[in-house]
Symmetry: C2
Subunit: 359 residues, 2 copies
């Protein structure tokens, strides 16, 4: 098989060794005489998977036992529901910093449960930059919600001040991509299909003191405290999904967050430099210090050039490079499993294209 050079925003490229290990487990998990797809969620083998994955998440995040690690179903959007359901009563307000589509959707979900204050937004400029960090966050907010990386628009918070209210972060598209102080969050979550696995699972990490906050009665399945008490197996867990995320965690640990961070910076610099020096391609995000190292969004000088470059990428087995409809053009997602070689190849194709194309 020739593997595509895959820049998809998510579901995203996974390391070949993780795929091979996952495929092996589908045939037989260890020497259990059964497939991982058949493995009981209350078996010793799955408890080992849960325990190892929890320990690795805490280790990679540098977190103590003050935090609970949960593997839940329903992706990021179920978190958009569960966060206000659990923490925002109809007498309280939550603050949302609106830095892109996913921030906005998260806050639209929250208005079902209580009052929402948009603390800052960069919507007016089609999210081509981060909003300013709000200077006068009201006291007594139920929580403040941010999106650390904006997949669609290609911005990323590189400096996140603390807040007096509990800080909650959607880290779906940049978790484990850099060294980071995770202890500033009361809760952070990630749909795993970017840096951490295959769709169907979300990682949620909650500081235990949050369980005391109860905005309303919530049935166990949607209740963080109840899920934590049952260590992610309140219901039949997505066994294969959690296992795939464990394989990713092992891969991340073996490589090392520092190495990953350095490579991610190299990959992004290479591509942004090519775009900044191009006469055909233009970055969506001009403010360099707001740029995402994960999702590089750019447009072409005109629709013909755009079409021609898409076609050329196709000829070179480059896939997943189409920009989201709200930005257009191109988006190359440079998640952990995308190699420097992949990005070098893309840049080479861009330069060859430039040498032979008139704007």
């Amino acid at each position: 098989m020739q593997r595509k050079i895959n820049f998809n925003a998510g579901p995203a490229r996974l390391p070949l060794e993780v795929l091979e290990e996952a495929a092996k487990a589908v045939l037989e998990y260890k020497d259990t005489g059964m497939s991982i797809l058949e493995l009981p969620h209350r078996s010793k083998e799955f408890l080992d998977i849960i325990n190892e994955s929890e320990a690795l998440v805490k280790e990679l995040c540098g977190l103590s036992d003050d935090y609970e690690v949960l593997w839940l179903q329903g992706g990021g959007r179920l978190q958009f529901c569960m966060i206000p359901m659990n923490f925002l009563s109809d007498r309280d307000a939550a603050g949302y910093i609106d830095s892109g589509h996913w921030s906005e959707e998260a806050l639209e979900y929250a208005v079902h449960y209580g009052d929402v204050q948009i603390l800052e937004s960069s919507k007016e400029t089609n999210y081509d930059r981060l909003p300013d960090w709000p200077t006068d966050i009201p006291e007594q907010l139920a929580y403040v919600h941010i999106t650390t990386n904006n997949t669609i628009f290609g911005t990323q918070w590189h400096n996140i001040p603390g807040t007096s209210s509990p800080l909650i972060a959607d880290m779906s598209s940049d978790i484990f991509s850099r060294s980071h102080d995770y202890s500033k969050y009361s809760l952070f979550y990630a749909a795993v299909q970017k840096n951490l696995g295959t769709p169907g699972t979300a990682l949620v990490v909650v500081r235990k003191d949050m369980f005391k906050r109860r905005a309303r009665l919530v049935p166990p399945m949607l209740n963080y405290g109840a899920q934590a008490e049952q260590h992610s197996i309140l219901n039949t867990a997505n066994v294969f999904g959690v296992y795939t995320s464990l394989l990713m965690l092992r891969w991340i640990k073996a490589k090392g967050i520092n190495v990953i961070e350095r490579e991610n910076a190299q990959k992004a610099k290479l591509l942004y430099d090519a775009i900044d020096s191009s006469k055909l391609f233009f970055p969506h995000v001009k403010v360099k210090e707001h740029r995402s190292l994960m999702n590089v969004c750019f447009t072409a000088i005109n629709p013909e050039v755009e079409k021609a470059f898409h076609a050329l990428c196709g000829q070179h087995s480059i896939t997943g490079i189409k920009g989201h409809r709200s930005v257009g053009g191109f988006r190359a997602s440079l998640y952990n499993a995308v190699s420097l070689t992949d990005v070098e190849f893309l840049v080479r194709v861009m330069k060859e294209f430039e040498a032979t194309t008139k704007g």
Copy 2:
């Protein structure tokens, strides 16, 4: 590899050919140059998977386009939440027929949203039989909820009268196990990890007129109407999970529901006959017409015999036969992928055990 003879109640045994096909797709899906774990949920390939699986569900259930087929995350328990959230307002009442643990848990979830009437229950006799079908179901219930097969206690409804209020059924453990009139339900659902796939996906089939009923404002992720509008990709779908269920649907169709039904009846008769004629083993469900063809629950004459038979099963690579703690003893789940040969082997081991064991 020697495959275990797997009688687990769920996650359950899957056909070897399905596992082999799934493992192949984890390495590369068709000739896409990527793994099914990386496949975009908005790709043509995944839309084909969704479309084929929807068509197969309707075909196997004999349903028209009046119904929508949804693949959701969160298993059966998220359905316990979504059903009352969408259909039971705080001014209405829903009726629940309590035939076992899962019925009871479903109704406990519903009380968060409105009034719940237990129409009948067999809890008093530890669910060793079905309750009577209620004779005087009040008019104007928001819906009536039943569990068609009770996994833990081994009972199953073989005759389900219609209701004037919309009938909603949890069919997690007997869907596609027999020919059945699915058109009597306004909604039915199944966590797929028994007859239909691997944990992480639930099949929900809803009659479209239900979308008009709105008990309250519900955010899109938890709203059946919004999910239906987006054809199961309102959010990033569990691509691999849905694909595995499609493989199961193809397997079911190739075998034929009639053949499956006949084999399931044979398998269950073989095992119940062995238990009924035994001096060491006793059925949990004495009322024969209430017995489940999917989950056969039985106990042993005393704890020593129980322990000895568990040990013997282990020696013969028989697994997943321990009864649920609320019944004790043994439970053999005879889902579609468990073969007649598997059951014949179990019965042979039981008879050899009986010949050499004193009660």
